[in-house]
Subunit: 444 residues, 2 copies
C-alpha cells in the first residue's frame, strides 16, 4: 500500500459511535412505539429526488443549501433537505393506493449544506408525523396529544407545548390594517427572544406605526391562563369565529386529557415563513429555553399542490432528533447506553470454544446478551476488555470445569465469585445479578 | 399554483409504503435483537464522504457507479456505495476510542448508480456485522453462528450456509501452478451456476490446460459429507496446515452447536474479486437458488490499510436487506404487516372527541394500538375506513352512551357487538379478541 489517506470525515458530518448510536436507537424505538399506539404507520422515501420535485420549477433561494448535482444519466438531482417535501410528492403519487385520513410517521436522514457554525450538522435525522386528508379540531388535537405522549415516554422533564393559530393571527393583522406587512411582522415577532421586546417594538413601529406596534405586542403576550389569552386574542381579532372556537375546543380537550399543565396558548408562536394556515405548535424544554423548539409543526391547508390538483389538507409536527438528543443529554435524561452486553464467557482454551458458545447460547435463549471472548489470550487481557466495555458478569470454564460440565461465575462489579455452577445455575445467577442491577439503575 | 410538477421518483429508486416499511422494520428489529444478544453494538457513518476516502487515491473503475459530485465548498465528495469502506475509515479514525476485539453492526442505505435492469435498486439497505482486531477460529465461527441465528430468528426456511477458505484455495492454485491466473479462475468458477460446468471447464482449459482444469473442477466439487470435502481439499492443497485445521475446528463447533444440517463446506465459494484471505461465506435459500447468496462475507487480513499503518484483521458478513425481503416475500415468510392498529374509536359527535381520546388513551395504556376517527363523518364512511385499513375492532359511543359512561364494542371481523360496556369491560373484551386473533395468526 502506498500513501496513507487521512481518515477524514466531511465538515458538518460525524460518525455515530456505539454509545451514541445505542441512545439514538433507544429514542427512535420509544418514538416509534408511541406513534404505533396511536395508529400511525411508517413510510420511507428515497434520499435522492429530482431537483424539480424538491425545489419546484423555480428553484428559489434555498438551492445554495442543498446538495444538488447531475447524475451519470445527466439528470438534475438533489438530496432531500427535509421530509415534508418528499411526503407531499409521496401523497400526490400514491393517493390512489392509500386511504384517508392517512396518518404516517417518517424518520430519516436529511441533508443541508448550510453553515455549520452553530453546532448544526449537514446530515441530521428528522422525525415527522402527520395526519393528512382531513381538516378537523380532532386531528389538530391528536397531534398535540401525540407530541405530549412522545416527550412523556422519553421522560423529558418540564416540557411546554406552545400553540397558537395562524388564521386568527392573520385576521388580527387584517383588522390592524397590517396584513401587507405580515411577513416582516412575523420575522420581527420570531426574533423576540433574541433581541428583546423593546427592539421588536422599534422594528414594528418603523413598519406599522407605534399604536399598531403596541397593539401587536399586546396580542402576542400570553395572559395568566389559556382562557384569558384566548379571550384576549378573540377580542383583538374581531370576535369569535370557527377558528377561535376550534382553539377553544382543543384547549378543553387538552384539559380533559390532563395536558393543561403543559399546553400553553402562546400567540407569539407564528412559525415564521412556513406554509401553516391553522394551528401551530412549538415545544420547549423549560430547563433549556436557549435551544429553542425541539418539536414544531402546524396545520397546512394544501400539502401537495405542487404535484397534484387534489386538495390535501393536513396537520403534523416534526422532531429534530439530533437536537433533541443533545438536549436530553444535557438534562441527563439519556438512558445509559451500558455495555450492550451482559455476560462475557472467557476463553481459557481455544479448543473449548464450542463449549463456550453452548454456554452463551443457553443464556441468550433466556434473553441474556452474552459473548464469547474469541481467543485464548491472557486472562488479564480478557478481564481488561470486560472492564473497558463495562460487562458486569464473567463466566470462567477451564478444562477441569468443562470436564464435569460446571463453570465459575464472576460478578465483575462486586468481584465476588460463585464456583462449580451448572449451566442452569449459572444462568439463573446471571439473571438475578442483572435484575438487581437494572432495578438499581431504575431507582437511581 | 402554476404548472403541476409530476410526482416522479428517480429510476432505480422507490418509496416504501406502510406495508413494506412495517415489514422492513420488523426484519431490522429481528436482526438488531439477534446482534445484540451476541454483544454486537451499532454504529453509523455519514452518507457522504470524501471521494478519496471511498475510492482511494486512484479512483479506479468503480467510479462510474457511484454518486460523485462537488459540494458548494468545491470538495470532491461521494455517497457511500457500501458499509465496508466507511467502516475501514471509521476504525482508522476511532481506533483509540474503541476496544478490541470490536464487534459492530451497521444498517444503512447505500447508493450505486448502476444498471437497474435486473431488479436492482440504486438505493438499498445493507446490514453488515463484523468482528475486528482478532484473527481466530472463534471469531470465524461466531460470524457463521450469528448468520445461522439471524436466519433462524427470521424464520427463513431451508437455509444453507456455504463456506470455504480462500487461503486453502490459494495454496491449491499455487500447487497447480495456476496462481498467476487466480483472478480469471475465480471469475470462471463464480459463473458456474450461470453457464454450467462444461462451459467453465472450457474457459479454464483455455487458460491453464485440460488437466489442471479437471483438477480444479474436482477441487470445487463438494463431497457427500463436510469431512470428506475437507479431506479432499486438504489433500489437493498439499496436506494439513493451520488453515485446514481451522476449517476443521469450525466444522466441529458447527456440529456441536447443531448447525451441521445447514453448514456446507463448499470449495466453489470464492467470493470472486473481494479482498478476503481466509474463510468465506455465502448463504442460500434452497427453495430460491436463483436469487443467489443473501448473506456473504469472510475474513480479511487488513481492513483499514488505506487509512492507517495499524494492522486490523477482521471477519464479517453482510445482508442485502432488499433482496432478502423480496425473497422472504416470495417464500411467504414475511410476517403480515396487518393494520398497524387494533381499535378504531368512531366519531359519533365531534364534541365528544375528548371522551373518545380518553377511551383510546386507556386502551393504549394496556398496549392496545387505538385511534380516534378525527371527524364526525357518516358512520358508513368510518366503517369503510376501518375496513380498508383492516382494523378489527370498533368502539361506538354516542351521546347517550357517553352520558352513562358506557360504549358498544363491535368486532368488525365477526360483525358481532357487545353493548353497554364500561371502559374497563371494553378494554378487557378488546384484549381478548386481539389475543384470540394473534393466536390464530400464529397457528395459521
Amino acid at each position: 500500500m502506498s500513501e496513507i489517506i487521512p481518515p477524514r470525515v466531511l465538515k458538518g458530518f460525524r460518525d455515530s459511535l456505539p454509545e451514541h448510536e445505542i441512545s439514538r436507537k433507544h429514542i427512535q424505538n420509544v418514538l416509534e412505539h408511541t406513534f404505533e399506539l396511536y395508529g400511525f404507520v411508517p413510510i420511507d422515501t428515497p434520499v435522492l429526488e429530482y431537483t424539480e420535485v424538491l425545489l419546484g420549477k423555480g428553484g428559489g433561494d434555498t438551492d445554495k443549501q442543498i446538495y444538488r448535482f447531475k447524475d451519470n444519466g445527466g439528470r438534475d438531482i438533489a438530496m432531500r433537505f427535509d421530509l415534508t417535501v418528499p411526503f407531499a410528492r409521496f401523497m400526490a403519487g400514491h393517493g390512489a393506493e392509500l386511504y384517508l385520513p392517512f396518518k404516517r410517521y417518517h424518520m430519516g436522514k436529511v441533508f443541508r449544506g448550510e453553515n455549520t457554525q452553530r453546532g448544526r450538522y449537514r446530515e441530521f435525522v428528522q422525525c415527522d408525523f402527520d395526519i393528512v386528508g382531513i381538516d378537523s379540531a380532532a386531528a389538530d388535537f391528536e397531534i398535540l396529544l401525540l407530541m405530549a405522549r412522545c416527550f412523556e415516554n422519553l421522560e423529558a422533564p418540564d416540557v411546554g407545548f406552545h400553540t397558537a393559530h395562524r388564521g386568527v393571527f392573520t385576521r388580527f393583522l387584517a383588522k390592524l390594517g397590517a396584513a401587507e406587512h405580515s411577513v416582516e411582522i412575523m420575522r420581527a415577532v420570531d426574533k423576540r427572544s433574541k433581541i428583546g421586546e423593546h427592539e421588536v417594538r422599534t422594528l414594528l413601529a418603523d413598519r406599522i406605526g407605534e399604536t399598531a406596534a403596541d397593539e401587536l405586542l399586546a396580542y402576542i403576550r400570553p395572559q395568566a391562563t389559556n382562557e384569558a389569552t384566548l379571550a384576549m386574542i378573540t377580542e383583538l381579532a374581531g370576535g369569535e369565529d370557527n377558528e377561535t372556537r376550534r382553539l377553544n375546543t382543543i384547549l378543553e380537550w387538552s384539559e380533559k386529557l390532563g395536558l393543561s399543565d403543559r399546553v400553553v396558548l402562546d400567540p407569539s408562536i407564528t412559525r415564521g415563513l412556513d406554509y401553516y394556515t391553522g394551528i401551530v405548535y412549538e415545544t420547549f424544554l423549560r430547563q433549556l429555553p436557549e435551544i429553542g423548539s425541539v418539536c414544531s409543526g402546524g396545520r397546512y391547508n394544501d400539502l401537495a399542490s405542487l404535484y397534484t390538483k387534489q386538495h390535501i389538507p393536513g396537520v403534523g409536527s416534526s422532531i429534530g432528533l439530533d437536537r433533541l438528543m443533545a438536549a436530553l443529554e444535557e438534562l441527563d435524561k439519556l438512558p445509559p447506553a451500558g455495555a450492550g452486553v451482559d455476560v462475557l464467557v472467557l476463553c481459557m482454551e481455544e479448543r473449548l470454544i464450542g463449549r463456550y458458545h453452548e454456554i452463551a447460547e443457553h443464556m441468550r435463549g433466556t434473553g441474556i446478551r452474552a459473548e464469547v471472548y474469541p481467543e485464548a489470550k491472557k486472562l488479564a487481557a480478557q478481564f481488561s476488555y470486560a472492564e473497558k466495555r463495562g460487562i458486569p458478569i464473567g463466566i470462567i470454564c477451564g478444562a477441569i470445569e468443562a470436564e464435569s460440565s460446571v463453570m465459575n461465575l464472576k460478578n465483575l462489579e462486586t468481584r465476588t465469585s460463585d464456583d462449580q455452577l451448572s449451566l442452569a445455575e449459572a444462568t439463573q445467577k446471571a439473571r438475578l445479578i442483572l435484575q438487581r442491577r437494572s432495578h438499581q439503575n431504575y431507582n437511581a
